[in-house]
């Protein structure tokens, strides 16, 4: 379980998170929505210790993460970065198998490669691209390689930062199904950031909307349409006018 308690994070005068409170239960698929620049990516990075909040607590299974055995802590997570963040000096399969080729999870090269190719297939990529370099792939393909890397070591907790942005509708459908499968089959806890409302409905058990540095609304996906929250209504119905200003 992941629990955010009054988390604050600023960059200079830019107060991005201003007291976020949120609980994500084990095995649950939580989807975070909210306008661009509201701090969704920042929120996820605070869990992993990539950004340190000024105040507030983030508990993973009731404990403050990191600490002495940071490697063991991080080994429980998989993360798809918004921009893919593939290592451009390594081939596609070496990216996917990165965690399997060093450290505690080290496997023989052949085996690591076989697992990588299997994961690539799951995200709809052919074996042929395994020896390409990330720079040779389209944006959507890079995103899926990032996804394959995030799930390669079958982590317990997975973060997906905009997994379907830049994909065509069919491929988005494939990825939505995949994320759903990962949660159901692997029993993983997932936090997904997305702007794509069809993704939200396909992936989410619960939804949280971030606005003005706080969680504006959170609840089960089924209650999203009848929430009566004007901010949420404006967002999910894609209205230009409403309480959320279009100029941010």
């Amino acid at each position: 379980m992941i629990e955010f308690q009054d988390v604050h994070k600023s960059f200079g005068a830019n107060h991005v998170l201003q007291g976020v409170n949120l609980k994500v239960a084990k095995g649950e698929s939580m989807v975070i929505i909210g306008g661009s620049g509201t701090g969704k990516s920042v929120l996820i990075k605070t869990v992993l210790g990539l950004l340190i909040p000024e105040s507030g607590t983030i508990l993973v299974d009731g404990k403050v993460g990191g600490g002495a055995d940071r490697d063991a802590f991080l080994a429980r997570f998989g993360m798809l970065f918004q921009g893919g963040a593939l290592f451009d000096s390594l081939s596609v399969w070496q990216n996917v198998a990165f965690r399997l080729m060093r450290g505690a999870l080290k496997k023989p090269k052949e085996e690591a490669r076989a697992i990588a190719i299997e994961k690539l297939r799951r995200v709809g990529l052919k074996e042929e691209i395994a020896d390409h370099f990330p720079g040779e792939l389209s944006g959507g393909m890079q995103k899926r390689v990032g996804l394959a890397r995030a799930i390669a070591a079958e982590p317990e907790i997975i973060f997906f930062d905009e997994p379907t942005t830049g994909l065509d509708p069919i491929m988005s459908g494939v990825i939505n199904e995949l994320i759903r499968e990962i949660v159901v089959e692997m029993g993983a806890t997932a936090m997904t950031i997305t702007h794509d409302m069809s993704s939200v409905r396909a992936i989410a058990d619960k939804v949280a909307m971030l606005h003005d540095g706080r969680v504006q609304w959170t609840g089960p996906v089924g209650e999203m349409d009848s929430s009566g929250d004007p901010y949420l209504d404006q967002f999910i119905n894609a209205r230009a006018h409403g309480p959320i200003e279009a100029v941010r």
Binding site: L50, M79, Q82, R99
Partner: protein, 261 residues
């Protein structure tokens, strides 16, 4: 603020900034050193860096020292002629090359080539979140990125400088024998006879220190790069400038240490 304050404030600010940077670099160096001897070791990355820092710097270092050796021979000949000491050309070229010019010029050229490319590479990795990705994959960026580069540069610079020294001396020899009228055998024996092993060794120690400086500055500025393409550009410039200035400063300190009794 009165005029005096207006004048002094920026000086104070930049002094504080400088001290803060020195502190951060010192921390970075301490962290790097502490990771060198602790597993896991990334040998493949080390070999890659030995190749890209050492081998691929050979042409630029070779050309630099070749032309400098030649120019040095001409200068010393012209200067020596003023008090009938033209015969010192071979030994002064050799001593000047191995003690000072070889390490310093190679250091500066490598600062331009290697510190820039390290800073640009790591800076790009930083702004595209590849460094964050490393962390989430349980890999320490200092261990995986910085240590191989720093170790490779420190080990390979002396070799690079030894080759550069030889090429520089050869440049002097070429000029000496073709246009200054030296006899080939005499030039060689004159070079070898007056050169002491400490001349060479001190230069190679300097080289090692310069290699360390180049890689540390490249990595430090790259990993701490600002956001976007502009951030990477600035990191690259800062890496080259700081590495070059530090090389010259450390060269002075080491020369003082090695050659003043």
């Amino acid at each position: 603020m009165n005029p005096a304050q207006q004048l002094l404030a920026p000086i104070g600010r930049s002094t504080l900034g400088l001290l803060a940077s020195i502190g951060r670099v010192a921390m970075f160096v301490a962290q790097t050193l502490s990771h060198i001897f602790r597993p896991p070791f990334y040998l493949k990355e080390l070999l890659q860096q030995l190749l890209s820092i050492g081998y691929f710097s050979l042409p630029v270092v070779g050309l630099t020292t070749l032309f400098t050796g030649g120019a040095l021979a001409l200068q010393i000949y012209a200067g020596g002629a003023r008090f009938n000491a033209e015969s010192v050309v071979p030994s002064i070229v050799a001593i000047g090359m191995v003690r000072e010019l070889g390490p310093v010029l190679a250091g500066l050229m490598v600062a331009g080539r290697v510190a820039a490319s390290i800073a640009a590479e790591l800076g790009t990795m930083k702004v595209t979140e590849q460094i964050d990705a490393l962390v989430t994959l349980s890999t320490n960026p200092i261990k995986y990125l910085t240590v191989p580069r720093v170790v490779a540069a420190t080990l390979v610079m002396p070799i690079l400088v030894a080759v550069g020294d030889s090429i520089g001396i050869f440049g002097g020899y070429l000029v000496g024998t073709t246009s200054l009228g030296f006899n080939s055998a005499a030039y060689i024996s004159n070079t070898v006879d007056f050169l002491q092993s400490w001349d060479v060794v001190s230069g190679l120690i300097k080289a090692s220190a310069f290699g360390f400086i180049v890689a540390v500055m490249g990595c430090y500025h790259g990993i701490n790069s600002g956001r976007g393409a502009q951030g990477v550009g600035k990191a690259t410039t800062n890496a080259v400038v700081s590495a070059s200035v530090l090389i010259l400063a450390v060269n002075f300190v080491l020369t003082q240490l090695f050659f003043t009794q």
